[in-house]
């Protein structure tokens, strides 16, 4: 009897916490498709707000994807070889480098954004292009890629596989392509999902780095929260959810698969 009471109490509490997290999302989704949120759902269901958001903010959404995939490209090209180098090299220098590239996870985005602005703000062309935002996203997401790949290296004994391929006559570059990258794939995929998800949702840095011509999806969101009617802001949030939730689900599935191994 006492056990059942404790169980019921904990379940109730957990449901309450879940409601706290889920109810606002449901509110937001319903507001995004309601004709008039103030009057409630009986005022009718509509896609007009979603269409309006698309007309207003398609550019922002497109730029966000451009930046997310450019960030992914850079973190792949720079981060995957670096993860291999850091793992194989080991030693103090590697630890220091790893520590430094992980710092952007500890330092608030606002500080990094200010630093970038104060250093490169004067280079007009660079400052006004989306590449400026890209640098911030790369700095912020790089540790996720590097660590995700390094985690795989630590678990598959990549060093011996590398030596095995070398003993068979493969040059360093051939080994990297034939053995290192294929075996790092789970980490590369997990890291990629993480990088794209974080880049699509990044606001702290981006708000500081953007210009009127380089607005991203979350910047547009903040705009709409400040200046648009609730239905439009909700519809915009709905579009964001539709983009980000599949990525989150994929990431979660990946994490579970990794745990089972």
């Amino acid at each position: 009897m006492r056990d059942r009471l404790i169980f019921a109490g904990q379940l109730g509490f957990t449901l309450l916490v879940a409601a706290f997290l889920v109810v606002p999302v449901v509110l937001s989704i319903s507001a995004g498709v309601t004709v008039n949120y103030f009057r409630g759902i009986q005022s009718g269901v509509t896609l007009q707000w979603v269409v309006q958001v698309w007309n207003l903010y398609a550019g922002e959404i497109g730029l966000s994807f451009l930046i997310a995939f450019a960030t992914l490209a850079v973190t792949l090209i720079v981060g995957v070889p670096a993860a291999y180098g850091l793992h194989v090299k080991g030693g103090r220098l590697s630890r220091v480098i790893e520590e430094i590239i992980t710092l952007p996870l500890a330092i608030p985005g606002l500080a990094i954004a200010l630093a970038l602005l104060l250093t490169y703000g004067g280079f007009g062309g660079f400052r006004q292009s989306w590449l400026f935002i890209l640098t911030g996203h790369v700095v912020f997401t790089m540790p996720f890629m590097v660590r995700s790949v390094m985690a795989v290296f630590a678990s598959v004994d990549i060093k011996t596989l590398d030596e095995g391929a070398a003993s068979l006559g493969a040059s360093p570059w051939t080994r990297f392509c034939n053995v290192i990258v294929p075996n790092a794939m789970p980490g590369i995929l997990a890291g990629s999902l993480m990088v794209v998800t974080l880049s699509l949702g990044e606001f702290n840095l981006t708000w500081m780095l953007h210009t009127p011509l380089t607005k991203t999806l979350p910047v547009g969101l903040a705009d709409s929260y400040a200046s648009m009617r609730l239905e439009v802001a909700s519809a915009y949030t709905l579009i964001f959810f539709i983009m980000i939730v599949p990525l989150l689900v994929a990431m979660q599935m990946f994490a579970e698969k990794g745990e089972k191994k």
Partner: protein
């Protein structure tokens, strides 16, 4: 054909050089877009009218100090509340199997990567002028309760942001607990409460330290949520933002953001040395 004998070897890159080439792009990118800017930030912070003492202004200037205290108290409250909530829910979810459990876990963890701005908006929908709580209280008591833009609204926002990742950490730690320890304690006559108090919670200590530090550091530096909700509340990120964009006070905003960065980094470094695990804040 690869040369059989050694003469050809100097045509090939040595492994050592290859590793350096692998590391080079990362070193260049990090130096150019992180280390150099951070050094510049440090220099600008010291280059204002206050000089190096700008770095002390976060403590000496009463207005800044009040903001700092505000932010720390808010972050600490968020951390404690999140830990309590996540421990109860995480222990429950990891220790019981029931229909719908997977759905419940998904509901508790899917907001993991919502940006702060979106979280802020969700709090507005909950407790804003057209919010659910306002509607309910108006219907029940006749008085509309609105607190999204107060410090309590911000607290709820940070809570929303922190709960998913702390629950995940707690659940992972509970999974690793040796059930034998609990059974041993029970065999020695410990009541369920005593088992929780003497065995389970102490074993979860490192997970608490790690996830608590992440929650704290994240709450200290959270900008997106504050930007949406904290138009009237003094928290450090908003102070830095207004000093920079509105007052164009570059030196002070640089010094304050260095101070904020150092606090966040120090909390995480301390937690890491205590818990031995990898600890990092989230945007």
């Amino acid at each position: 054909m690869v040369p059989r004998r050694g003469q050809g070897h100097h045509h090939f890159m040595s492994h050592r050089n290859f590793i350096w080439i692998c590391l080079l792009p990362l070193v260049v990118v990090t130096a150019a877009f992180f280390l150099l800017p951070m050094a510049q930030l440090l220099a600008v912070g010291a280059g204002g009218s206050r000089g190096v003492s700008a770095y002390l202004a976060i403590i000496t200037e009463p207005r800044y100090r009040a903001t700092l205290i505000n932010t720390v108290v808010l972050a600490a409250a968020t951390t404690i509340a999140t830990l309590v909530i996540a421990t109860i829910a995480g222990l429950f979810l990891q220790r019981h199997r029931f229909p719908g459990r997977a759905v419940l876990i998904a509901m508790l963890t899917f907001p993991l990567a919502f940006p702060g701005v979106v979280v802020g908006f969700l709090i507005i929908l909950l407790a804003g002028r057209q919010g659910l709580i306002g509607a309910i209280t108006a219907a029940v008591t006749g008085e509309k309760v609105v607190f999204a833009y107060s410090i309590f609204g911000l607290f709820l926002g940070y809570l929303y942001f922190s709960i998913p990742r702390v629950i995940l950490t707690v659940m992972a730690a509970v999974q690793k607990l040796d059930i034998g320890l609990e059974e041993a304690a029970r065999s020695l006559g410990a009541s369920p409460w005593a088992v929780q108090r003497d065995v389970v919670l102490p074993a979860l200590g490192p997970a608490f330290v790690a996830s608590g530090a992440i929650a704290f550091a994240t709450a200290m530096g959270a900008f997106g949520t504050a930007f949406t909700l904290a138009t009237n509340i003094d928290v450090l990120p908003m102070l830095i933002y207004t000093e920079f964009t509105l007052a164009a006070n570059f030196a002070i905003s640089a010094a304050l953001s260095i101070g904020l960065g150092v606090i966040a980094w120090a909390i995480l470094a301390l937690a890491r040395s205590m818990s031995g695990g990898a600890v990092a804040a989230a945007g």
